[in-house]
């Protein structure tokens, strides 16, 4: 081992704490970098698996392929595997509820096809011969037709033809036309009986617009005729797929599995990969910046500490190259320990995180997928992390190394840096000494003296402060927006019927069955229409009138036009609500004097005034009835409604506040039928049922069952609890990653602060000893050190807090575009930051001070300069 290496190693051993902290810093930053790269590679492999599950495991597909293409693919040495899917034909699905999916679509798979298009069997097994079929589960959940394992069905199989003789495929949606002459028809060519041997999940390759439910049979040796089968194949080297296809000179109509190839990194046209990589790069740069500031700091400390030693070395004939090398040896030793440990820690960390979040991820990804989001470590992700780590360390070592080599031997021995100091560099105000005493003054002068060394630490503290506060603001705004959007809903489930004016008997029966379910607490049936109301100034609330006037929408004395959201509710719900609010039920069902309930409360964000508006439109003590004007071409007379009560509570399905410039008016269904009889067609096309439940998920299942039994589609049933839960899950995931990231960045900062302060204290051992020898007491000493930490922390906070508040404001501005949120100073996170900054700085100072105090004055004085 040469002498330079030996001196370097000794230096590292002598400053064990600093070396350790530096290595911890490297481990932290490497683990963050690895976490980012591994997360990206895990996400990629998850996406690839998801795509394979949905669309199959193939690279190139030839649709309605000619036999010649099959033989080309078979013979090519570049092709890894292939499979064929034979299209047998269509058959009508008897009793199907989905009018856009009236067919079954029969295909036959070979052994290989099952590998390329993995099917998930829910019940029974896959078909093993030509007369067995497997049925997808959505024939029941979407089409409402139930098949059981063991059923035998006879199908009239044919081709879908247009009236002018074209054959239609699965990519042509079913179009229902009034004119039966123009309507597509099924040209039946055979009848066959099949046995249902299994029920599988909906195959991902069946598109939503396809008119046939895919039914799969088995034939390992199909007799292939031109254009009656699809051919899919995988190439050995996906990166060469375009060349291979070019060489094959295919004749059929072929296409690439674009999405899969993109995630494999073969094709790179505008896709998620690009987004992932750019976000990844931004994170990497951020992490590397913080890490460089730490590692650079620690190298430059050790260089300046050893400057004299280097001076002696170069005085003794060491070349500049050797001196530079010594810094890089130091970097090497630290890398050898730090990088592998960091990569391991990163993989472990992200692995545990993904494991814990797996369910949360699953709920926001494709709901009926069984692909798991698990850790996937790729060589590339490790390589990228390692390279980023090495670059970080090299960059950090380069600057001190250059500086160290540039010094002349004499300068190094005399430690020029301090010699350059001028009185104005350490000038303080007179007041400092008056207020804080000589100790405070000395502290401030020291801060000024070490400006350069401290500045990178102050910067990294600053970055941590800004990141922490802005991230917590972002997450609290996101939670806010989720709550404002979804938590104002006073129901858990809704079902839109597609009937606008009145229940048909069947739907009525369904509604009644649902309301009898044990899992349903409350229910309502509601529809609405929009109407207008003209008010003279005397009937409008003064504040509101002035507000509208100030916007320039009307001049003083003008009438005010507002909107009415007119709702009708089923009589049962309406009566129950009247009972709840203590109103006389009979009054509201009098056709001669119709009476309504009114919500007159506006809640919205006014952009011109930059504040939340929460107020009413009507002068409620004056307005006792309203003229509801419904805009239609016939121009009917307005309907007069007496106002029974202004309410602030509402029945389920109706919001407790109204939109901008509008009021909400509620009437029972029977009044709608009599008083508003003329306006049948004006109601919204979706008469909607609303339900509340203690267990919305169970209720949703039970309702779906009822709908299917009654032959209704479940697609218009929404579970708002589920939507809310999903949104909350997204917020959780963002929080976990954001805070994980911030905590790690903060730890790097803590390591940085620790290294800088403790080394700085150590370098000043002799000065401290001197101060004590001229009679500075322990108390005075503690006072000086405390002031130093306060000034130091303050500096980072003075810059950090305003910037963080500024960023919070920007976040708030951008959130405003989507939802109404209020701006607030992120006081809690600011307090946490202030406390944390001082805790870290004080703890470090106390640590180093105690270490110093253990030495007696003499030892301190003896330390060589």
């Amino acid at each position: 081992m040469n002498v330079v290496k030996r001196i370097t190693l000794q230096g590292l051993k002598k400053n064990r704490t600093r070396t350790l902290v530096t290595i911890i810093g490297v481990i932290l930053s490497l683990s963050m970098i690895t976490a980012v790269t591994t997360f990206i590679s895990s996400l990629q492999s998850y996406m690839i698996n998801l795509i394979i599950e949905q669309d199959g495991d193939w690279h190139v597909g030839i649709y309605s392929a000619p036999q010649s293409d099959l033989s080309k693919v078979k013979e090519s040495s570049d092709v890894d595997s292939y499979s064929v899917m034979c299209n047998i034909g269509y058959a009508y699905l008897d009793g199907g509820l989905n009018e856009y999916k009236p067919y079954l679509f029969l295909v036959s798979f070979t052994e290989d096809t099952f590998k390329s298009f993995p099917l998930k069997v829910i019940e029974g097994r896959l078909p093993e011969n030509e007369s067995e079929i497997v049925i997808p589960s959505h024939i029941y959940t979407n089409g409402g037709v139930k098949f059981a394992v063991g059923d035998r069905i006879t199908l009239d199989i044919g081709h879908r033809m247009t009236h002018d003789g074209y054959r239609l495929t699965q990519s042509n949606p079913y179009i229902k036309l009034e004119d039966l002459e123009e309507q597509e028809y099924l040209d039946v060519f055979t009848a066959k009986t099949y046995t249902v041997v299994g029920i599988c999940e909906r195959p991902g390759f069946e598109r939503y617009v396809s008119p046939g439910y895919t039914v799969i049979t088995y034939n390992d040796n199909p007799s292939l005729t031109d254009n009656e089968f699809d051919l899919f194949f995988k190439v050995k080297k996906p990166s060469k797929v375009y060349e291979v296809v070019g060489d094959l000179k295919l004749e059929g109509d072929f296409g690439y599995h674009g999405e899969l190839l993109r995630f494999m990194g073969v094709s790179s046209i505008g896709n998620l990969n690009a987004v992932l990589y750019s976000i990844g790069s931004i994170l990497l740069v951020l992490i590397m910046t913080c890490s460089i500031s730490l590692i650079y700091n620690s190298f430059s400390i050790s260089v300046s500490e050893r400057t004299r030693q280097y001076g002696l070395l170069s005085g003794a004939g060491a070349t500049k190259k050797q001196l530079k090398a010594s810094v890089f040896y130091e970097a090497l030793y630290i890398s050898v320990i730090g990088i592998p440990l960091g990569i391991l820690a990163g993989i472990l960390g992200i692995g545990v995180t993904l494991n814990l979040l797996e369910d949360t991820f699953k709920s926001i990804a494709s709901a009926n997928s069984t692909v798991r989001f698990t850790l996937s470590v790729s060589v590339a992700s490790i390589a990228v992390a390692a390279v980023a780590g090495i670059i970080t360390i090299l960059l950090s070592a380069y600057i001190p190394a250059r500086r160290c080599a540039r010094l002349s031997a004499m300068d190094a021995i005399r430690q020029v840096a301090d010699i350059k100091m001028k009185p104005r560099n350490v000038k303080t105000w007179r007041i400092t000494r008056k207020v804080f005493g000589i100790e405070g003054d000395l502290a401030l002068k020291n801060i000024k003296r070490n400006k350069k060394r401290y500045s990178s630490t102050v910067i990294s503290l600053f970055v941590s402060i800004v990141l922490f506060i802005s991230a917590s603001s972002l997450s609290s705004y996101m939670i806010d927006s989720v709550t404002t959007v979804y938590q104002n809903l006073n129901y858990d489930l809704s079902y839109r019927t597609g009937l606008n004016d009145k229940f048909d008997e069947k739907t009525q029966a369904v509604y009644e069955r649902i309301t009898r379910l044990g899992s349903i607490k409350k229910s309502s049936v509601i529809n609405n229409m929009y109407a207008r109301l003209t008010l003279p100034k005397s009937k409008v609330d003064d504040d509101y009138y002035n507000l509208i006037k100030s916007h320039g929408f009307l001049s003083d004395g003008d009438n005010l036009d507002i909107f009415i959201s007119l709702y009708y509710l089923d009589d049962v719900t309406f009566k129950e609500f009247l009972k709840e609010i203590g109103e006389n039920q009979a009054l509201y069902f009098d056709e001669e004097n119709p009476r309504c309930l009114v919500v007159d409360r506006q809640q919205y964000f006014d952009y011109t005034q930059e504040r939340m508006i929460d107020q009413n439109i009507l002068k409620q003590e004056v307005v006792k009835e309203i003229d509801v004007t419904i805009d239609n071409e016939q121009g009917y007379e307005p309907v007069k409604l007496a106002i029974g009560k202004y309410v602030s509570d509402t029945p389920i399905g109706i919001r407790h506040y109204s939109d901008y410039n509008s009021i909400t008016v509620m009437i029972p269904q029977s009044i709608k039928d009599s008083v508003f009889a003329e306006y049948k067609d004006m109601w919204d096309t979706n008469l909607t049922m609303y339900f509340t439940s203690d267990n919305p998920f169970k209720a949703a299942e039970e309702i779906a069952e009822i709908l299917l039994e009654e032959g209704l589609s479940t697609s218009k049933l929404s579970n708002h609890a589920e939507i809310l839960a999903n949104t909350r899950n997204i917020v959780t995931i963002i929080n976990v990653f954001a805070y994980g990231f911030i905590i790690l960045i903060s730890l790097i900062t803590v390591a940085n602060v620790f290294n800088t302060i403790s080394t700085n204290m150590e370098l000043r051992t002799r000065e401290f000893a001197m101060l004590r020898s001229v009679g500075m007491t322990s108390k005075g000493f503690r006072k000086m050190v405390s002031f130093e930490s306060v000034f130091y922390g303050l500096k980072a906070l003075i810059y950090g807090l305003p910037v963080a508040v500024g960023i919070t404001y920007l976040i708030y501005k951008s959130m405003l575009q989507g939802v109404d949120v209020r701006f607030y100073i992120p006081a809690t996170s600011m307090c946490i930051t202030v406390i944390m900054v001082f805790v870290v700085v004080f703890a470090t100072m106390t640590y180093s001070m105690n270490k110093l105090k253990k030495k007696n004055i003499l030892e301190g004085l003896r330390i060589e300069k």
Partner: protein
């Protein structure tokens, strides 16, 4: 008048087999206004003795009285305060505070005490030290001799009972050395300032009133110099 009394001071560094006896039952008595030179080979214990006298190091056993105060009966805090009021220390490597200018460095013991300086005293001191035009300079802007003069100023600002100097000229050339010694002598003669210096330099030792030789932690000789005709 006895200003300093050292009684049976022993200092042992380390423990067990590696223990080193730096001072072995040293006793000593100093009158006000004496100028004493302590000489002896390296490692003889002379610096240890000086540091114990100055109260920056504790003896393993023995007692010390300065102006009748039992120095080592004071707690750490009071010892620090006692030090800044009664003892002035001058080191070979000056040990100035790099961020404080000349005037502030000199005033440091007063500043630590929270006392106001006596302007006249300061100005006299500065002009005697030949530093009047350097008061706003930082230590790094001064030559070695100038820095040492600052540290002497710092030792004298409080009119201490004792000024202790550890090889004050060890780092200086002969011209500067001579100036420093002249200064110290001047204060000794003019203000009757008690002065103990450690030196290797025989010429400096010979200018003292009394030379104490130390070897292996013991005082081997303690003689008064009898001046010739000129005195």
């Amino acid at each position: 008048m006895v200003i300093l009394k050292v009684e049976n001071v022993t200092k042992i560094y380390g423990k067990g087999n590696t223990a080193v006896k730096a001072l072995d039952k040293v006793s000593l008595s100093v009158e006000k206004g004496e100028f004493i030179a302590v000489v002896g080979p390296s490692g003889s214990g002379k610096s240890t003795l000086l540091h114990i006298i100055g109260g920056v190091d504790n003896p393993t056993s023995g007692k010390e009285y300065i102006n009748n105060t039992d120095v080592f009966s004071l707690n750490e805090n009071n010892l620090a305060i006692f030090r800044r009021r009664n003892i002035g220390l001058v080191y070979q490597f000056y040990n100035l505070i790099p961020v404080l200018n000349v005037e502030e460095n000199i005033l440091l013991p007063l500043l630590l005490d929270g006392r106001k300086e006596d302007k006249n005293h300061l100005n006299n001191l500065l002009s005697t030290l030949n530093l009047s035009d350097r008061t706003r300079h930082l230590p790094n802007q001064l030559s070695g001799g100038q820095q040492q003069r600052v540290s002497i100023g710092r030792a004298l600002i409080n009119n201490p009972a004792l000024v202790l100097a550890d090889e004050p000229t060890g780092n200086l050339d002969s011209k500067n050395s001579a100036e420093i010694i002249e200064l110290l002598q001047y204060y000794n003669k003019t203000y009757n300032q008690t002065l103990i210096i450690i030196t290797h330099d025989e010429r400096i030792a010979l200018q003292a009133d009394r030379i104490i030789s130390i070897e292996d932690g013991r005082i081997v000789s303690d003689e008064r110099i009898v001046r010739g005709v000129e005195k």
